[in-house]
Amino acid sequence: MAELDPADETYCAAEVSRENGTAVVRLSGELDMVSVENVRSVIEGALASHGDRLVFEVSGLDFMDSSGIALLISMTRKVKAVEVRNPTAIVRRIIELTGLTDILLMVP
């Protein structure tokens, strides 16, 4: 039922690029239970081979719920380290309050 339309308030855009061999997933919008499956398929489609590190650039992420956390954590099974780059206060607090600062490495 999750139709992903940019006009939809629960839309999340995901772009995958490479920086010196490291995959960088740029997320913007709202990562929640509605948008998460689409984002997951985008990421898994783009990451044919997983490197040592996966970077989520989340400066454009306005909202993330536990489904979003679940997505980020599921990626820790596939790479050695998951970095969450430029988290907004919203995302930062979710990760902190969930006790996941050791597993989702926030930079800065």
Binding site: M1, E9, E30, M33, V34, D62, F63, D65, S66, S67, I69, A70, I73, S74, T76, R77, A89, I90, R92, R93, I94, L97, T98, G99, L100, D102, I103
Partner: protein, 547 residues
């Protein structure tokens, strides 16, 4: 619990039965309209074809009749009449008569025989004769009558003669001279059996033609007709009369086939058959489309119903698991709330639980499984029963969470859970908390120290995260009449703001309402923080020490 009123079979067959005539109706409408258009087109084309053929037939017939009118009477006037005039001028000279007909009386025609007659009183007497013997006997009354008729006519007279299988036309024409009246008589052979074959190259080879002497179309009057033509001609015929001596020729024609070519004749049939085929195709297509649409509508209804049913299954599951009334614990007042979120159709995996351990100790649990739907609810159920079992075995909260962490892996189903577990000793006011990634509980005092504070303690990883475990307990000692509130994120989470903002609102509301009854406090928290329409599920538990 039985899923009451499951209407799949009946609704399905009703829908099919109800849409049956409607699908046929659409096809029938297409069929009727298409066939109507086809028939109209075919009739119009056929009528146009018929009209054109009739016009062509008339045109060709007029050409033939014009040709006959221009040639045949003139030939008779010219040659037979000319010979009679020559003979009359020469006072009945046989030589003049013979000279006048030179080249006209031959074995090939046109005249088979010719004779010159002088009228003596009213009885004719032959002057001379050329060619073969006439069919009409010279001494017969018929010959006498014909010659007299010619004498009284200003033009030639004609009669049809039959002798055995041979038929001829007899002509007679009169001429006056100084020696009296002379009459020339000649016979022209008619085609054998009255039939002629037009060569295929003839411009009139596509017509059946019949020529009659006089006005009646009887076989006795037939002079010649196209071989093979059924007489009298049937179907669309064209009849015209051509002046011929003292009588007329009747010319009747009909078309052997289509005068405008095969295409003109085939076109109406082609339109009819092609149009009918297209119409049937269109009707089948319409039926298919209508059926497809009806099926899509049925499926859409079915899917909608399944979503509702799925939600109701998950809700039923969740409500069956969540205790409606928590166990009574001496010395404590305990209240709970569960609010399903309004967004989406799937339930969440929030839960709360209270497990009495005997004496005045009990364990409380608040948890939240990530994601939604039946699977989240099932994960929630397994975690709830597992935590209850571990609590009843007497494990402290940190161990309970350790055990829970071993039962689940996010890789299995994509779900993880945040869980807050607390062991309460009512008498000593001691609370041992362990937190697996859950939001901090809140304590507010009822004895003039209403300021609510969050119990901050570093949380361990949520249940289901690999490597999760070793949850450090946090010890807390409450005061008399203190209230402890544990909740799930639906209470404080709002889009567009940090969780801190929600936590601050929670603290402020709790501070203001802490001295209300426990039920009122929980009600206020829900209404103040969510406006009574939470987008996410909320589970909420309040513990108040009575002493």
């Amino acid at each position: 619990m039985a899923i009451a009123g499951r209407p799949t079979g009946h609704a399905g067959s009703r829908a099919r039965g109800g849409s049956g005539w409607a699908t046929h109706a659409a096809a029938a409408v297409v069929l009727v309209i298409g066939l109507g258009i086809t028939i109209t087109l075919a009739v119009v084309t056929a009528s146009g074809h018929h009209h054109t053929n009739a016009k062509l037939l008339a045109l060709e017939s007029r050409l033939i009749s014009g040709e006959i009118a221009a040639a045949d009477p003139l030939y008779v006037e010219d040659h037979l009449g000319g010979a009679a005039a020559l003979a009359a001028a020469a006072n009945g000279s046989a030589a003049a008569f013979t000279r006048g007909l030179s080249g006209s009386v031959t074995a090939k025609g046109p005249f088979a025989t010719a004779s010159l007659w002088r009228l003596v009183g009213s009885s004719p007497r032959m002057v001379t004769h050329v060619g073969t013997a006439p069919v009409l006997a010279p001494s017969s009354g018929a010959m006498t009558g014909l010659l007299r008729r010619a004498d009284g006519s200003h033009t030639f007279v004609v009669t049809k003669l039959v002798s055995g299988r041979e038929a001829r036309l007899g002509y007679a024409t009169a001429a006056s001279g100084p020696g009296g009246s002379f009459i020339a008589y000649a016979e022209v052979p008619l085609p054998a059996g009255g039939r002629v074959s037009e060569p295929a190259s003839s411009p009139v080879s596509d017509l059946n033609i019949a020529v009659y002497l006089g006005r009646s179309q009887t076989s006795a009057a037939l002079l010649e007709a196209t071989s093979g033509a059924p007489l009298p001609l049937r179907g669309t015929t064209y009849t015209t009369r051509i002046p011929f001596g003292d009588t007329v020729l009747t010319l009747t024609t009909s078309a052997k086939g289509s005068l405008t070519g095969n295409l003109g004749a085939i076109l109406p049939w082609a339109i009819g058959i092609g149009g009918a085929a297209l119409t049937i195709l269109g009707a089948l297509l319409a039926e298919r489309l209508v059926r497809g649409r009806a099926r899509a509508e049925r499926m859409s209804t079915e899917i909608g119903r399944m979503y509702v049913e799925q939600r109701s299954v998950a809700e039923t599951l969740q409500q069956a698991i969540l205790p409606h009334e928590v166990p009574a614990i001496p010395g404590m007042q305990i209240a709970v709330r569960y609010l399903p979120g309004v967004s989406g159709t799937e339930v969440g995996g929030d839960w709360y639980d209270v497990v009495p351990l005997g004496g005045d100790r009990f364990v409380f649990v608040v948890g939240d499984v990530s994601g939604r739907g039946v699977r989240a609810a099932a994960t929630m159920a397994s975690l709830q029963y597992a935590s209850r079992a571990y609590a009843l075995e007497g494990h402290p909260p940190g161990v309970i969470l350790d055990q829970l962490a071993r039962t689940r892996d996010i890789a299995e189903d994509g779900h993880f859970a945040t869980v807050l577990c607390g062991l309460v000793d009512v008498g000593t006011h001691e609370v041992t908390l362990a937190n697996a990634g859950h939001l901090p509980p809140l304590v507010c005092g009822g004895d003039g120290n209403a300021r609510a504070s969050l119990i901050q303690a570093k949380p361990g990883w949520p249940i289901g995260i690999p490597g999760s475990g070793s949850f450090e307990p946090t010890l807390l000692t409450t005061a008399a009449h203190d209230t402890l509130i544990a909740y799930t994120d639906g209470l404080v989470e709002r889009r567009g703001e940090t969780l801190d903002a929600g936590l601050k609102r929670l603290q402020e509301t709790a501070t203001v309402q802490c001295e209300s009854s426990l039920d009122d406090l929980l009600t206020s928290l829900v209404s103040e923080l969510t406006g009574d329409s939470p987008t996410d599920d909320i589970a909420l538990i309040g513990l108040r020490w009575l002493n």
